[in-house]
Amino acid sequence: MSDLLRIEGLGKTYPGVVANADVSFAIRPGEIHALLGENGAGKSTLVKMIYGLVRPDTGRMTLHAQAYAPTEPRAARASGVAMVFQHFNLFEALTVAENVALGMENPPPMKTLSARIAQVSGDYGLPLDPARRVGDLSAGERQRVEIIRCLLQSPRLLIMDEPTSVLTPQEVAILFATLRKLAAEGVSILYISHKLEEIRSLCDGATILRRGRVVASCTPRDKTAGELAEMMVGSALSAPARQPGAKGDVALEVAGLSLASPIAFGTALKDIRFAVRKGEVLGIAGVAGNGQDELLLALSGELRTAPGMVRIGGKDAGALRPTQRRALGLVAAPEERLGHAAAPDMTLTENALLSGALRRGLLGRGGFLRWGQAKDFASEIIASFDVRTPGPGAAARSLSGGNLQKFVVGRELLQSPSVVVVNQPTWGVDASAAASIRQALLDRAAQGAAVVVISQDLDELLEISDSFAALNGGRLSAPRPAQGLTVEEIGLMMGGAHGMEVAHASA
């Protein structure tokens, strides 16, 4: 069978960085082809070249046996190539139909378009109401808008960039059914992901990228997840070691925590209650925007609460500010690294001082700073968490995402805390750095700290949590032992497939 898209020797170099070098592979009609690689392996640049957003320096592409060199997305769309981005190109204040119309070259009148949206979305099992405002939709429903927008233009090749990172397991199942149906109709799909099990269950072929080059291609069904990971990372990964120790007293207790959100389009917290014991890791799952940021703010002390809602080591901490909570032993690492966890233009020493001043005794008599000790503290973080940087004098902004994340988490863990709260500790971090961050969190728990990990990565949570709960619409499900939980049950705790059920399980 002839190939739909053939890529030969494609390369792209940015100043100082080789994004792609000599990349070649081919996709057959109706094939679901995976592009597998870690963050920074060059997947995004490659698909941007296929979609006409970036022009390659070397190499050539053939589509339908004809030379293919799109100069802009419009040209790519005209050739039958469509793309669903990881970050959606949607307008929150506009309706579904209006959003779809904006993505089409010659949209039909609104009434006809709405009818077609309803029909196509029904056909592919992706129900959508054309009249609803996108701002009111869940992440999964927003993705459907993007997909329908692509489908209405009858693409031959559909590119999907990390489509499942915002979905619940139930929504993933629906999406996969849709993709298989499309493939059966002859549409080729280029599927970008670093989630190995997904690729094994969905894809017919895979091309594995590392540092911008093709390192292997295979049929994912014939490989184990471990083998795929090894090809992707280049070395074997060890699962974090954990010693199930005895759990101590309750170190952090949250009771009836309700709080309005300070964030636009944010989610208010509603009657959240949980307790974490010393040595215990509580994993909190949930699709982004279900109250994770608000929960972190309420726990860290950036948002203060009514008395009794948050207790640290038995003491009421509702009215305490972050520094006062640190004094009680609670440290927190928020999701946003630049600008929230770290001040981008300040040095690592200064950033270490900002959060570690109190517990590490970096403040001298009369409020003077102890720069020597602060620098030693920064160096200690760099050494013990393998942060790749020229030294403690480097600006936080100059570190890569993964390295800065290691620094931020390390800075909090090295303050001998009794309670640790982290949000998305390994987001955008490569696999080996993520593994070391998880290990550090487990080690801290083994030394007697209560750890709360908020994350969207279910595999990560199942790997390190003792107990497990899910945030959905600002409510927290009752924590359950992580051992023995199935993905199905977790999905229901996360709210199931948004907008597809009559009743919510957690309501």
């Binding site: 957003l53 970036v54 802009e72 997305p73 419009r74 981005f85 959606f88 190109n89 949607l90 307008f91 929150e92 204040a93 506009l94 209006e98 119309a101 904006l102 993505g103 949209p107 636009a264 389009f265």
Partner: protein, 308 residues
């Protein structure tokens, strides 16, 4: 009643009094729906007032005066467009600068025109209709600019909500990055919106100097541009509500004048303060970050630069 104020004359005069702020607010609503916050409305209005006045005095034609007013305000707005869309300067600062520049420049241009009488803009002859009791007074006693402004309200509503042009304009004001990602020319669309807003502001300004007052004095717009800005927010950026807001503010002004004339017990100063006081409150609401709750365009005031 009301100390001898005739309510029908009051309604007729509030319709006329609200024309300048209605036009300016309608134009600014379109500009803001495209994501641009142009605080230079006052400056553009007074530029329109002075150029309109000069041209109609020179030619004897009110029509040419109004056209010149639109052109004058559009020329001034090009400074703002260049600063914010090309140089990516801060929109709030650029808009304030535009107002200050417009006030000073109009005063320079208008030096020889103080005390001159402009040609008269007459009411549209509706014949016997104008003689109908009550309705004739309220509906059929106005000049053609008034009717044009009302027609524009309907036109802007239709274009914004029922056409693809309007959809693209709203998309640009909602999320410029996404609009760019879909292949729309964000800066060109915003430039056109700024010019449209300026044309209406200029028209509104000329209505003050050619019809309402009608003569030229420095600072003749007297804060009408700021009131127009407040109306846009008050109206949640919707054309029909802009009309309601303009009538409300226009009504306040007229009522205040009438109450003064009728010798009301409330001190005059409070009454003349009222429209501006409400304006300040509304403007504080916009800048306090509560804009989202008021349904503001999400990209309002944010410059856009294509980075990829």
């Amino acid at each position: 009643m009301l100390g001898g104020i005739d309510p029908f004359i009051l309604i007729a005069s509030l319709i006329a009094a609200s024309v300048p702020i209605l036009l300016a607010a309608l134009g600014e609503a379109v500009v803001e729906r495209a994501g641009v916050l142009n605080l230079g409305v006052e400056g553009m209005m007074i530029m329109g007032a002075v150029t309109g006045f000069m041209v109609s005095v020179a030619t004897g034609s009110p029509l040419l005066g109004f056209l010149a007013a639109m052109a004058g305000a559009m020329a001034l707005s090009l400074i703002f467009a260049f600063l914010t869309q090309v140089m990516l300067a801060n929109q709030v600062a650029s808009g304030l600068a535009l107002t200050l520049f417009g006030l000073g420049f109009s005063s320079l241009l208008g030096q020889g025109y103080v005390g001159v009488k402009p040609p008269l803009t007459t009411a549209v002859p509706f014949g016997p209709l104008a003689d109908l009791p009550v309705i004739g007074e309220i509906l059929f006693s106005h000049d053609w600019i008034t009717y044009l402004s009302l027609a524009l309200v309907g036109l802007v509503w239709f274009v914004l909500n029922r056409t693809r042009t309007g959809l693209i304009l709203r998309a640009v004001g909602e999320n410029a990055e996404a609009a760019h990602g879909l292949g729309y020319k964000v800066r060109r669309i915003r430039l056109l919106a700024i010019l449209f807003g300026a044309a209406l502001a200029g028209l509104g300004g000329a209505y003050i100097s050619l019809v309402r007052v009608p003569q030229w004095t420095d600072g003749i717009t007297a804060g009408a541009g700021w009131i127009a800005l407040a109306i846009v927010v008050f109206a949640s950026w919707r054309p029909l509500r802009v009309l309601a807001g303009a009538w409300l503010f226009g009504g306040l002004t007229v009522l205040q004048l009438n109450l003064q004339a009728a010798g009301s017990g409330i001190p005059v100063e409070y009454l003349s303060m009222a429209p501006y006081l409400i304006t300040i409150i509304v403007l504080v609401l916009i800048s306090s970050g509560k804009g989202r709750a008021l349904d503001a365009p999400a990209a309002l005031g944010q410059n856009f630069h294509a980075s990829r």
